[in-house]
């Protein structure tokens, strides 16, 4: 791992303006708190978390689609957070995004050729036949026939639209593609085909993915490393094997044990600790670890101060009481 990371995020913070009070200023709501990540070239980093955990906000902030309150995003050695105007627009060609909803992410009144070719026009000045030839190549790459470029989005199914969105993201041969719940809106069958497509493209183009999803099985399948988010904090980062077989953070374990296994014998024989309680209120966040209120291991220290990240058994975890995972540990009930 001596290679230079292609994308590095350090101490990313995002706040939204809070609800205005009658008197006085609105307290900002902190949606993302001190998130640091790095991705190697050609690597897939999975980012998992439940709704409201801030994972999509991280994506939008590192894309500079919303302005981060603090932190640095370095893309291929270039500080994205310092760029403005046309310099920022130029830098965007190296990081692209695939969105969740294949219906609203494609302009309904634009031809496929215009949607996929927009980046080519903006960044490379390609026009007319030249552009269309490139677009046709890109469509072939994602498994669509090249002659589809004269069509409108409404003529395609959800899975095909997502392929178009992927073609758009790949148009400029970016180093990083952020997939924000890119397969969540699709049927399982279509979902698996799109995942297969993304995997094939990674091998072909050596592109790195930041793969954001709430679906652990999907993340397990596609990722090299996994980062787990909870309530705006990163709580654990490790290789896919570490996270899924030896989770160190109690939340990661709870999350894994909540996913039902499609096998009644194993699912019903599983020892699962169902999390009680709910995620804290974002307007009045707790002082310490946000998971403390639902955590069986929580002590006074947990409610006092958010724990720092530390290395634990190969992964990196923000917890005062990381789980010990000897192979005999019954902590993780996946394998009965």
């Amino acid at each position: 791992m001596s290679e230079q990371p292609v994308l590095e995020v350090a101490g990313l913070e995002v706040s939204f303006p809070g609800k205005k009070k009658m008197f006085g200023k609105a307290a900002p709501i902190r949606a993302v708190k001190g998130v640091s990540l790095s991705i190697q070239p050609g690597e897939t980093l999975g980012l998992v978390g439940e709704s409201g955990s801030g994972k999509s906000t991280v994506a939008r902030a590192l894309m500079r689609l919303i302005e981060p309150a603090a932190g640095r995003v370095t893309l291929k050695g270039e500080d994205l957070t310092a760029l403005k105007g046309s310099a920022l627009r130029k830098a965007r060609r190296n990081i692209q995004m695939v969105f969740q909803d294949p219906y609203s992410s494609l302009d309904p009144s634009a031809l496929v050729a215009d949607t996929v070719g927009e980046a080519l026009e903006v960044h490379e000045g390609l026009k007319g036949k030249e552009r269309d030839a490139r677009v046709a190549e890109l469509l072939e790459l994602v498994g669509l026939a090249g002659h589809h470029l004269e069509r409108y989005p409404y003529e395609f199914s959800g899975g095909q639209r997502q392929r178009i969105a992927i073609a758009r993201a790949l148009a400029l041969n970016p180093a990083v593609v952020v997939c924000d719940e890119a397969v969540s809106a699709l049927d399982v069958s279509t979902q698996n085909q799109i995942i297969g497509l993304l995997e094939g493209l990674r091998e072909k183009l050596n592109v790195a993915y930041l793969f954001i999803s709430h679906d652990l099985a999907v993340v397990r399948h596609i990722s090299d490393r996994v980062a787990v988010m909870y309530f705006g904090h990163l709580v654990e980062v490790g290789t896919v094997e570490q996270i899924f077989e030896r989770p160190a953070h109690p939340y990661t374990r709870a999350l894994l044990s909540a996913v039902p296994i499609a096998d009644p014998v194993r699912q019903r024989g599983r020892k699962t600790a169902i999390l009680s309680g709910e995620i804290p209120d974002i307007v009045n966040p707790p002082k310490g670890c946000p998971f403390a209120s639902r955590c069986e291991f929580a002590t006074d220290a947990c409610t006092e101060k958010m724990p720092e990240f530390r290395d634990h058994d190969g992964s990196s975890v923000a917890c005062y009481h990381p789980l010990e995972n000897s192979p005999t540990s019954e902590a993780f009930a996946l394998s009965q």
Binding site: E50, S51, S157, D187, V188, S189, T190, Q191, N192, Q193, I195, G196, H214, D215, L216, A217, V218, R220, H221, F244, E245, A254, L255, L256, S257, A258, V259, P260, I261, A262, D263, P264, V265, Q267, R268, T272, I274, L275, S276, E278, I279, L334, S335
Partner: protein, 346 residues
């Protein structure tokens, strides 16, 4: 059409036990919708039974007709543009189709209740949670409004909402997604129904919340002796929660069996495909899927409806429509059921 006699009460645990009279008994139900292509059959000869205390899982891809079946059972299909074209629905001893509007409304929410997929939109934003539950109680039980409110709070308490008395005075938008679905369940059980239909009740929820809701539904079913129909597309959820499974494809039931049997050895290629398509949490294997899409009602292939997508199809599959055939205590709608050795995982 098909001879469909596969409706046998499924009792997987103790086959020696005397059959209990089912609370839900649907026979040869067919539903038609009006489309650009005229009246089209979207549900074809669906039969199912559910005994008290049992949960029947109904699975299939989107467009397979799961939800339409459930809405037909509650008679909630739109009055214009849809019709029940055949078959019978019996719930808690009542022939649902023969009921007039008034008798039907006395059944709904009282002896049969339903919960929906979207807890965000299924509660009226203009009334408090307590008002909405108490309204159900007032409609069906002869109680004072004070008593109804008390029962509403009790229901909320039963589904595990902390500080139920206070929360009852809150509006839906002040609840989180999981809490709203609990409130929906509280509303559904507030009149102690005999039958509960849950249409994808956890699809919109996070996994940790889903686990809570599934546990709650299971215990409700046991405690109240409910017959529950559980619609989902998630095979993991089925494995976790249901006693029996009916697999639907293109408006028909293609396979029906007990939970352990169907996961151990599917008897229909479509079931196998569904099971194979589930991404695994452990290990890493190449992903599988069922290519193609569910056919539209006006575009049904000849013979077996799954045959164009089926990797095991032989020319005979396209010849004539297949009946749901009984094999021991389960049934399947596959021509090659005898010769294929299907497996849930490789």
């Amino acid at each position: 059409m098909n001879v469909d006699n596969g409706a046998v009460l499924l009792q997987t645990s103790e086959p020696t036990q005397q059959p209990v009279k089912p609370l839900v008994s649907v026979k040869d139900l067919s539903v038609e919708f009006v489309t650009d292509h005229g009246w089209q059959r979207v549900i074809n000869n669906v039969s199912l039974e559910i005994a008290p205390g049992k949960i029947l899982g109904v699975v299939g891809e989107s467009g397979s007709g799961k939800s339409v079946t459930s809405l037909a059972m509650m008679r909630l299909l739109p009055k214009q543009g849809s019709r029940i074209a055949g078959g019978s629905i019996e719930i808690d001893g009542e022939d649902i189709q023969s009921l007039d509007d008034k008798a039907l409304s006395q059944m709904r929410g009282n002896r049969m209740a339903m919960i929906f997929q979207e807890p965000m939109t299924s509660l009226n934003p203009a009334y408090t949670i307590g008002e909405q539950i108490a309204e159900t109680v007032r409609r069906h039980k002869r109680v004072s409004s004070k008593e109804a409110w008390k029962r509403a709070v009790e229901s909320l308490d039963d589904v595990g909402i902390p500080n139920a008395a206070g929360r009852a005075r809150r509006y839906p938008h002040e609840f989180s997604g999981g809490m709203r679905q609990r409130a929906m369940i509280a509303m559904a059980i507030s009149c102690k129904p005999r039958v509960l239909i849950a249409d994808e009740p956890t699809t919109a929820l996070d996994v940790t919340i889903q686990a809570q809701i599934l546990q709650l539904l299971r215990s409700m079913c046991e405690d109240l002796g409910l017959a529950m129909m559980f619609i989902t597309h998630n095979m993991g959820v089925v494995a976790d929660t249901c006693d029996d499974v009916a697999v639907m494809y293109a408006g028909e039931i293609v396979e029906r069996a007990g939970i352990y049997e169907i996961f151990a050895q599917p008897k229909h290629p479509y079931t196998e495909g569904l099971l194979r398509a589930v991404p695994k949490l452990q290990g890493r294997s190449e992903l599988a899927s069922i290519p193609g899409t569910t056919p539209a009602p006006w575009d049904m292939p000849p013979g077996c409806r799954f045959q164009p997508r089926c990797p095991y199809a032989v020319p005979e599959c396209a010849e004539s429509p297949l009946p749901l055939r009984q094999i021991a205590d389960r049934s399947s709608r596959c021509l090659r059921v005898g010769e294929l050795d299907l497996k849930a995982s490789k």
